[in-house]
């Protein structure tokens, strides 16, 4: 617009006096309100970010593991000195494999066979886990005996920590788990390339172990997977069914009020009490095995139900009555009305309840305590009836370990749990987005 035009406009008839509707003040309020919203959202997300970044910064190193790659001589004299393996396969199982590893590393480092102190130090650099590592190699292929193979051996947890720089070398030698000699050897091996960090698949697939370098969340992952499956399969349908009954069918009377109050109240029951319940009902009464993920899943289902029911009821309430009237007026039965129209519209809320409920169940330790799932379990469960643990339990137990190397693994396990959570929720979140619509 040009000046000429705007001045011409100015000549026009006088504007009617405007009412004062406090527009400035109200806009300020509007901006403030909006700012509160942004601030609140930012607050939440910043804290999430802080939490996650503190976990990640502590835990990302857990996904690497120091290995010592050396030629190992599978000496027959050590494995099977009397050559009995043909008659007694058991022999191969119980041989002194760690000695093979120690000798191999000592040879590379040039430690004399009679330097007992030196050999002990060398031994402490290698994980005890090599026993099963080498044993499994030999049992799988007895022909290895007498040959020399290049093997990547697990480094001991302390060496791993030292190599990752987590043990301060300024501390007096007596006060740290790795002595100067070992540090020297470590550097020597690292320079020659024999000692290096590799991706730590073990933390994903191994069972729990008292040795940090060999510990993994494999069993806990399976356990959590079983439990979440059980929780999902049971609590979603049961929760939705219960909500439908209470919200749509139940006569509104004292009894249903009682049920409603009761469900709200169940959400306030401390989770460990669900453990007591599980112990009494599922283990002592029904005779299900201890430490089984089936029992854990059932207990967590009961714990999750109130969340899902409350969320679902709120969502059902929010569906406008005109939709129900429309369907009923067409001759749809109440059931059809609910399942065809009301439920799809309530779906976002239901899924939110499920997401939150499952997330809660995934991170919960206390109820598992009394049913024996806060436990050291080394063997993989094959069915939900076998003993297993869960991810938060593993985190809880590792957090209480004394060894330094468990600190990073604890954070590593938390990262894995968060990944698990995200994978678990992505489906539900996508589904929820599909169901969301504005009127």
């Amino acid at each position: 617009m040009t000046d000429a035009i705007s001045s011409a406009a100015g000549l026009a008839r006088p504007r009617p006096a405007r009412r004062d509707i406090g527009i400035k003040r109200r806009y300020a309020a509007e901006r403030r309100f909006r700012a509160y919203g942004i601030a609140a959202l930012t607050f939440g997300i910043v804290f999430l970010f802080l939490l996650v970044s503190s976990v990640v910064s502590k835990g990302y190193t857990a996904f690497q593991q120091t290995m010592i790659t050396v030629p190992v001589e599978f000496t027959e004299a050590i494995i099977d000195p009397k050559n009995e393996r043909a008659d007694n396969p058991q022999k191969l199982m119980t041989a002194n494999y760690p000695l093979l590893a120690r000798n191999a590393v000592a040879r590379v480092l040039g430690v004399a066979e009679n330097d007992r102190a030196g050999l002990r130090d060398v031994n402490k650099m290698i994980s005890d886990g090599v026993r099963s590592q080498l044993r499994d190699m030999v049992v799988a292929n007895p022909a290895l005996i007498g040959t020399t193979q290049t093997v990547s051996l697990l480094a001991a947890g302390d060496l791993d920590s030292a190599f990752k720089g987590q043990i301060s070398l300024d501390v007096p030698e007596a006060n740290r788990k790795v002595n100067d000699k070992q540090v020297g050897w470590m550097n020597q091996l690292a320079e020659s390339g024999a000692l290096a960090k590799h991706f730590n698949t073990g933390i994903f697939v191994n069972g729990n172990s008292s040795r940090p370098e060999a510990a993994g969340v494999g069993v806990a992952l399976i356990g959590s997977f079983y439990m979440m499956l059980i929780v999902l399969v049971l609590s979603l349908p049961i929760g939705v069914a219960a909500s439908i009954y209470l919200e749509e069918f139940a006569p509104k009377n004292r009894l249903t009020d009682l049920i409603e109050v009761n469900i709200n109240n169940l959400a306030a029951v401390p989770s460990i009490v669900y453990g007591l319940l599980g112990l009494a009902v599922f283990i002592n009464f029904a005779g299900l095995p201890r430490s089984a993920s089936l029992v854990g899943g059932l207990v967590l289902t009961l714990m999750t139900l109130p969340t899902i029911i409350i969320a679902t009821r709120a969502a059902l309430k929010a569906v406008p009555p005109s939709i129900r009237a429309a369907a009923l007026g067409l001759g749809a039965s109440k059931m059809q009305t609910i399942f065809h129209h009301v439920l799809p519209l309530a779906m976002p809320g239901i899924l939110t309840g499920t997401i939150i409920g499952l997330a809660h169940a995934l991170g919960e330790t206390a109820p598992l305590l009394l049913i024996g799932m806060v436990a050291f379990v080394a063997n993989y469960p094959t069915t939900p009836l076998d003993p297993s643990t869960a991810l938060p339990v593993q985190i809880y137990m590792w957090a209480n370990e004394a060894e330094r190397a468990f600190v990073e693994r604890t954070s590593g396990a938390i990262i894995i749990l968060l990944l698990f959570l995200i994978v678990m929720n992505v489906g539900a979140i996508l589904l929820r987005r599909r169901f969301e619509r504005r009127w």
């Binding site: 001759g331 519209l345 009127w439």
Partner: protein
């Protein structure tokens, strides 16, 4: 039984006969919303293959009465109905009666358009689907097209059948609801001001539709337009303050009503 007088038996029999000869019969129908009484002992018969118009000032209970005819007020929490309403002689408030079946036989178009938040196609196809009226997809397509056409919506929406029904204009939504209702071909169709959101042409189309339907169906229509009542209905009932003032042939009603209030209302003289 024996204690019943001859006359009483006669009377009961008469009433029974009466109920059968009409499609629907309302006898002493009263409706309460909580403590508030919205209908007072209404006695109204609906004849088969006839269009009955309900008129009366806003808030007089027309919608309320209409809803009693297919028990839609069951869904209003504190609503209570007394009296007796029959369909083909069967008490529809009987415990034996399947309310779903009833509503499939007595369809309804509401005052406020309320399409499902689904596609236009699904909106219309929903009723036939649950009642199993279409044997296959082609059948269904046919029903949907026919219903939309009869409701005068087909040309406007035929290219957007799979867009949401809530994205239509107000009048289009109402026509969609009409299409949805006639798609299940009920025996009785209740229409609560079906044309209030429609333009004259669409209104004419719906009125034509009502004419057509009358041959096979029974129709009860609430309307605020005297002209419309005069045009489409054979009988008219006038409500006032929850009471049935008069029920009569439409022609008579508009030319020579029995009740003064009817006359006044039609002349636009009170309120």
């Amino acid at each position: 039984m024996n204690m019943m007088s001859e006359a009483a038996v006669e009377k009961a029999l008469d009433e029974k006969m009466n109920e059968v000869s009409y499609k629907m019969v309302g006898r002493d129908v009263s409706v309460y919303y909580g403590d508030k009484r919205a209908l007072f002992d209404v006695n109204l018969n609906v004849r088969e293959n006839t269009v009955t118009a309900l008129i009366g000032p806003s808030g007089c209970g027309k919608s309320t009465f209409l809803r009693t005819l297919n028990r839609m007020n069951d869904t209003i929490e504190n609503c209570r109905v007394t009296g007796r309403i029959t369909l083909d002689g069967d008490d529809i408030y009987d415990r034996e009666i399947d309310v779903v079946e009833l509503r499939a036989r007595v369809g309804m178009v509401f005052q406020k358009p309320n399409p499902f938040p689904k596609s236009i196609y699904e909106n219309v196809a929903y009723g036939p689907k649950i009642h199993g009226l279409a044997r296959n997809k082609a059948d269904m397509d046919h029903i949907v097209e026919a219903s939309l056409q009869r409701a005068g919506l087909w040309t406007e929406v035929k290219d957007r059948l799979h867009e949401s029904g809530t994205g239509l204009s107000g009048g289009q939504q109402q026509r969609l609801c009409i299409a949805r209702a006639i798609a299940v071909s009920p025996e009785v169709i209740l229409m609560d001001e079906p044309c209030s959101a429609l333009d004259p042409i669409a209104t004419a189309r719906v009125e034509e539709l009502i004419h057509e339907l009358r041959a096979n169906y029974t129709i009860v229509i609430v309307t605020h337009s005297m002209q419309q009542a005069a045009r489409v209905s054979q009988r008219t009932a006038m409500f006032h303050l929850g009471q049935l003032v008069e029920e009569n042939e439409t022609d008579k009603m508009f030319t020579n009503p029995d009740d003064q209030r009817t006359q006044d209302y039609i002349m636009g003289r009170f309120g």
